[in-house]
């Protein structure tokens, strides 16, 4: 068990490191001189040269990389050109908005998708199953863009139910409902499908027949045996989706003007703020690693087989 987690943590650290290397390489491959981009058009040659020194662009790539890696290990992600602040501060300022949408969305998704998937799997071929499959298929076929627009049309234009844009903290939920639905529907669709197929697979196993033979009720078998085993892939999928949401749902944040990480990234790339873009990628990978580790731990608690290995 300890060995398993040690190996996982090492793997995930490796992934974060590779992403940091790729981010570094990508920013150096980008066309245009970063020093020129960072300064206004009227900057003189001397100012550009000074900026090159300040950004460390006058040194060879290897030296630049070692400085970057050293800073990264000390938790310094560089300074944003656009906001003229440390990148980490900029990202941290934007995190609460993204986090609020993620929380509301996660709660909604968990409440809807797990019961729907499980019930559909248990009653395969029934009306609930038909509805669940249709719901999931539609969710997987709708573009997030399209869902956003439909929600706006229904809830803000036709009926004045919800505000069409803005953000006012986690507790002012009315601003978060539409973004959460837009973000969550696709997630829900995937999880319903996964839960349903997992349940159907598990229910055909021998140990389920055995449990019935021992005189257990249908409810008990479904809850104690089938549910536990079919939920693991669903949790893994949920973890992946949450990690992706924390990276900032770009389309949703720009549509509903939520000051989160996604809208910041769009601003950063369109203003060629390379340090901030680079740091966003690294932070995203780090969040992915943390979420993945949490998912592994949760799965290890549910699944006894993992403990034995």
């Amino acid at each position: 068990m300890v060995k398993f987690f040690a190996k996982r943590i090492l793997c995930l650290l490796l992934v974060v490191w590779i992403v940091s290397v790729l981010a570094f390489v990508m920013m150096r491959l980008a066309p245009g001189d970063a020093a020129v981009m960072a300064l206004p058009d009227y900057a003189s040659e001397a100012q550009i040269a000074a900026m090159r020194v300040k950004l460390g662009l006058d040194k060879p790539y290897i030296t630049q990389y070692l400085i970057y890696l050293g800073d990264l290990l000390r938790g310094d992600l560089g300074t944003s050109v656009l906001y003229e602040k440390p990148c980490l501060d900029v990202i941290m300022e934007r995190l609460p908005a993204t986090l609020s949408v993620t929380i509301v969305c996660s709660i909604m998704v968990l409440i809807i998708s797990i019961p729907l998937g499980i019930i559909a799997g248990v009653n395969k071929g029934g009306p609930i199953d038909f509805f669940a499959v249709l719901f999931a298929l539609l969710g997987q076929s709708m573009s997030v863009v399209w869902i956003c627009v439909l929600l706006l049309l229904l809830c803000s234009v036709k009926h004045n139910w919800l505000p069409s844009m803005g953000y006012n903290g986690l507790f002012d939920v009315k601003y978060l409902i539409m973004p959460a639905i837009a973000m969550g529907y696709k997630m829900c669709a995937g999880m319903v499908r996964m839960g349903r197929s997992g349940m159907i697979d598990v229910l055909s196993e021998d140990y389920i027949t055995c449990a019935y033979a021992r005189g257990m009720s249908r409810f008990e078998v479904n809850c104690k045996y089938a549910f536990k085993n079919s939920i693991i892939p669903v949790i893994t999928l949920f973890g992946m989706d949450v990690a992706a949401m924390l990276a900032g749902a770009v389309i949703i944040e720009t549509t509903f003007t939520i000051p989160g990480i996604g809208s910041m990234l769009v601003k950063a790339v369109s203003n060629r703020d390379y340090p901030l873009t680079q740091s966003t990628l690294v932070v995203t990978a780090a969040m992915f690693a943390v979420v993945n580790l949490v998912v592994d731990i949760v799965n290890a608690f549910i699944d006894r087989r993992m403990k034995l290995n």
Binding site: V15, V16, Q140, S143, V144, L153, V250, V269
Partner: protein, 285 residues
């Protein structure tokens, strides 16, 4: 599987039939988009801005069947031509993604060891960055163009094929017929191509259909942020983005491309699910 049985199974799966009909219709429409479009998709008509949809009869007398946009361009023509661009990107993208992903996955599964480790770490790295985030960064840095769009698709979707083919090969690798081929002196490449590949195509074929739909959605998302297909070229994504400003007064500008997008992806997803029923009846997913 015999051809006759296969066709009977196809006809018995409603999902497959619906998906197949939608996909064939959309492919035909997009191939003949230029002929079908009633007007030039970039022709402006300032006096006919925001014309509401006029119905089928308008097709024959030069009207706006599905309305016009803020520059008086015909929405039907733009949706048709947009379908050609979207499907071309999805088609080329899917082929590249499938080839690269499958080859890497097969190598990883067959050779194992270091090759496997490298490929698996690479899939984790691409998973660590959500596709939309990576798409925006690549498109913004290297400039929005069709080839960069396809590059984004390759980087974000190859892992699905790699994982599936790797797992399948791992199962196949130690089967008797593979070992026999190796014992008879078959080289690695020969064994992979003649013995293993024919046995791993079914799950890959199913994945293919889903990837096609996924690429169309990613392209629409990037075009919505004006980082995909560039104006004035029409794309369903940038049409929705353009119409969003006028959502309250002229909703058809958004609804028409949105529905086109939904039906297309739904068609491919139906086809994928149908193929699963047809080719792999054991699986329930």
């Amino acid at each position: 599987m015999k051809g006759k049985i296969l066709i009977r199974r196809m006809l018995r799966s409603p999902q497959f039939v619906i998906g197949f009909v939608i996909v064939i219709t959309i492919v035909l429409v997009s191939v003949f988009a230029d002929q079908l479009a009633p007007m030039d998709e970039n022709l402006n008509h300032i006096t006919a801005r925001f014309t509401p949809p006029q119905g089928i009869s308008a097709y024959f007398n030069g009207g706006y069947v599905l309305g016009s946009d803020e520059l008086g361009r015909d929405i039907l023509s733009r949706v048709l031509v947009g379908s050609k661009i979207s499907l071309t990107i999805a088609f080329v993208g899917t082929i590249c993604v499938a080839t690269i992903g499958t080859l890497l996955g097969v190598f990883a599964g067959y050779f194992g060891g270091v090759v496997d480790d490298i490929v698996m770490r690479a899939t984790e790295v691409t998973m660590a960055i959500p596709s939309m985030t990576l798409g925006i960064v690549i498109m913004a840095i290297f400039g929005p163009s069709i080839s960069n769009l396809i590059l984004v698709m390759i980087i974000t979707s190859w892992k699905n094929f790699a994982k599936i083919s790797r797992n399948q090969v791992m199962i196949m690798r130690n089967r008797e017929f593979v070992q026999a081929s190796r014992a008879l002196g078959g080289s690695g490449w020969h064994v992979i191509m003649t013995q293993i590949m024919p046995n791993v195509t079914t799950p890959l074929l199913i994945q293919l259909s889903g990837t096609f739909g996924g690429i169309i959605l990613t392209e629409a998302g990037l075009s919505y942020l004006y980082l995909g297909v560039q104006l004035p070229n029409p794309s369903w994504g940038n049409m929705i983005a353009g119409g969003r400003t006028y959502l309250a007064a002229y909703p058809w500008m958004v609804i028409v491309p949105g529905i086109a997008l939904m039906i297309t992806v739904l068609g491919f997803n139906f086809l994928g699910d149908g193929l699963r029923d047809v080719l792999d009846p054991k699986q329930t997913r």
